[in-house]
């Protein structure tokens, strides 16, 4: 509706297609192709092989993958619990208090993840809480980093909630706890599932904070991918990235099932 002549439309759409191909399709497609390519020295990859994917799912890769999945799930649960608590309590708190809570929760978005990692490394390598060198510092780092996203997702869900339900429940004499557990949380379930999905997706790809704090016994898949890429094994790094994306998509699919089931109710 902006361009009325046939030629100008065609020109603009052609440029658009080229840009989307270069900016979006090429990077994703390249990694997918490299994961199954035997060699890639010319314009096109050659020698279809499953060897890289097989190695990416070998003992070392599988161990990293399991670490990533456990980290994502634990950090996701922690951040959804704390994040929904923060969002729910902030919604009924007085203005300055609400701004303080939401502001502090959003802090990790504003500072680089490397700094979040450095802070945790310094703060929890000394008493009273010694977490350095354990898996818990990695899980804590992930939980802290995704908290901002779970808080915003749940807050947005709360804003869209129809207050009529809880008002009706209260007028019928339901206690605050009953309103929360039987009315507000069930209505919020789609938002909670969305927040969990977001948390898991972000956690699976997290690199900056993890690389600052991880102990050798708890190496996530992105860190492994960096090690592979750093020593020049770009094919195996690509295959591991494809595995990472596939498993993330699977986890999100499972969460979206919960979400759509919650939305049906």
């Amino acid at each position: 509706m902006l361009l009325w002549s046939r030629t100008s439309r065609a020109v603009v759409l052609a440029v658009f297609a080229v840009l989307v191909a270069v900016v979006v399709v090429a990077p994703l497609g390249t990694v997918l192709l490299a994961a199954v390519a035997g060699r890639w020295t010319g314009a096109l990859p050659a020698g279809l092989t499953g060897a890289h994917l097989g190695e990416a799912l070998g003992p070392e890769g599988l161990a990293s993958l399991l670490v990533s999945v456990q980290t994502a799930l634990l950090a996701g649960i922690a951040s959804v619990v704390i994040g929904s608590w923060a969002a729910l309590s902030a919604a009924s708190a007085p203005g300055p208090m609400r701004r303080l809570v939401l502001g502090v929760c959003h802090l990790p978005i504003a500072v680089p993840s490397v700094v979040v990692g450095l802070g945790l490394l310094i703060a929890f390598n000394r008493p009273p809480l010694l977490l350095g060198g354990t898996r818990w510092i990695v899980i804590l780092a992930h939980a802290v980093l995704v908290l901002a996203f779970t808080v915003s997702t749940v807050s947005a869900g709360l804003d869209r909630l129809d207050p009529a339900y809880e008002l009706a429940a209260r007028s019928l004499g339901a206690s605050e706890a009953r309103v929360l557990l039987r009315v507000r949380l069930p209505l919020l379930l789609p938002s909670l599932a969305a927040a969990a999905g977001l948390a898991v997706a972000l956690s699976m790809g997290e690199l900056g904070a993890t690389i600052m704090v991880y102990p050798p016994s708890w190496r996530t898949l992105p860190v492994t991918i960096f090690t592979l890429s750093d020593r020049g094994d770009a094919f195996l790094a690509s295959a591991s990235t494809v595995v990472l994306l596939a498993v993330t998509a699977l986890l999100l699919f499972a969460l979206s099932r919960i979400r759509s089931r919650a939305a049906l109710r």
């Binding site: 900016v23 979040v116 807050s155 947005a156 900056g208 600052m212 992105p222």
Partner: protein, 311 residues
């Protein structure tokens, strides 16, 4: 155990009577302890000498070093370059998606969203195959210019990092822009065109004012994220492309100079928080009413994509 019994709520299902504000305290304390406190310790570490006494030695050593100056300059250069690039590219993509409808535009929009769901280092990994010394582009250059034709080393140059960041962060501009365009009445465009305004004039006088808040929000968000970007630069692995986050990593983890890393980190946090303040303040003002304490974070675009994958 019995000593705890009286603290329980007397009737089943009733919460103890506490003011609503008190419910904020547990998450607030958790966040202050696990987010605020570590940032304070970073500042504390930066003003400590090896014996643990107060000292500004690390500050003067780092702030005076060429390494820090280069990293600061490089970070600013890459962030500004990437932001400008993402704004230009993102505006074009959003305008086409919104106003030049074509079959498959939904798929294209979904595809652009997908990038939000990917880890940033994937872009650098792909660039190795596309623009590396044995990559696709090099092969094409050989094919066109003969075996002697050499591609400049784009991959490990600041330009390569800027291109990778433009690729990764453009969707962060497209999403808020599409949201602003959705508010625009299509008839306005058609009336303007039927009155004889050319496409450029329509863009300038009808679309641009509507797009400004979205552009400002997307642009400042991308500037913040590119200042903080780590994965893309780390995977590039070039010796002469050291940004502040990479400097924090090499100082803190590779050479185990925690006070030095803490100084760089503090400087970076000040920079990022200033920008974040401008972003939140500016965005809230652009949206005007001030009712919305929590402006719709374009980062929730991530949230939308959570269905596909993420942020």
């Amino acid at each position: 155990m019995t000593a705890l019994a009286p603290a329980r709520p007397s009737s089943a299902g009733a919460l103890p009577k506490v003011p609503a504000a008190a419910w904020v305290l547990p998450p607030l304390l958790a966040v202050l302890g696990f987010v605020g406190w570590p940032l304070v310790t970073v500042l504390g570490e930066s003003v400590r000498d090896r014996a643990g006494a107060f000292s500004l030695a690390s500050w003067s050593a780092v702030l005076g070093s060429a390494e820090f100056h280069n990293a600061l300059w490089r970070t600013a250069q890459i962030a500004v370059g990437s932001t400008v690039g993402a704004l230009v590219l993102g505006s074009f993509l959003a305008v086409v998606l919104a106003f030049v409808p074509f079959p498959g535009s939904g798929v294209a929009a979904r595809l652009i969203d997908t990038v939000l769901a990917l880890p940033s280092f994937l872009i650098t990994l792909a660039f190795t195959f596309l623009y590396g010394s044995a990559g696709v582009l090099q092969a094409l250059v050989h094919a066109v210019g003969g075996p002697g034709a050499q591609l400049p080393p784009i991959l490990t140059s600041p330009l390569g990092v800027i291109l990778a960041e433009i690729t990764f962060f453009t969707p962060f501009v497209v999403r808020p822009l599409l949201a602003s365009f959705a508010m625009l009445q299509r008839e306005q465009l058609e009336v303007a065109a039927s009155l004889g305004a050319g496409p450029l004039r329509v863009l300038r006088t009808v679309v641009a004012p509507e797009a400004l808040p979205g552009l400002a929000a997307g642009g400042s968000l991308v500037l913040l994220l590119t200042l903080n970007e780590f994965g893309i630069v780390l995977f590039t692995g070039a010796k002469d492309v050291i940004t502040l986050p990479v400097l924090i990593y090499t100082r803190g983890v590779v050479s185990l100079d925690l006070p030095g890393a803490a100084v760089v980190a503090t400087a970076q946090v000040v920079l990022s928080l200033l920008l974040y303040g401008v972003y939140r303040f500016g965005f809230a003002r652009l949206h005007g009413d001030g009712r919305d304490e929590q402006p719709t974070d374009p980062m929730e675009g991530a949230g939308h994509v959570a269905v596909v994958a993420h942020q």
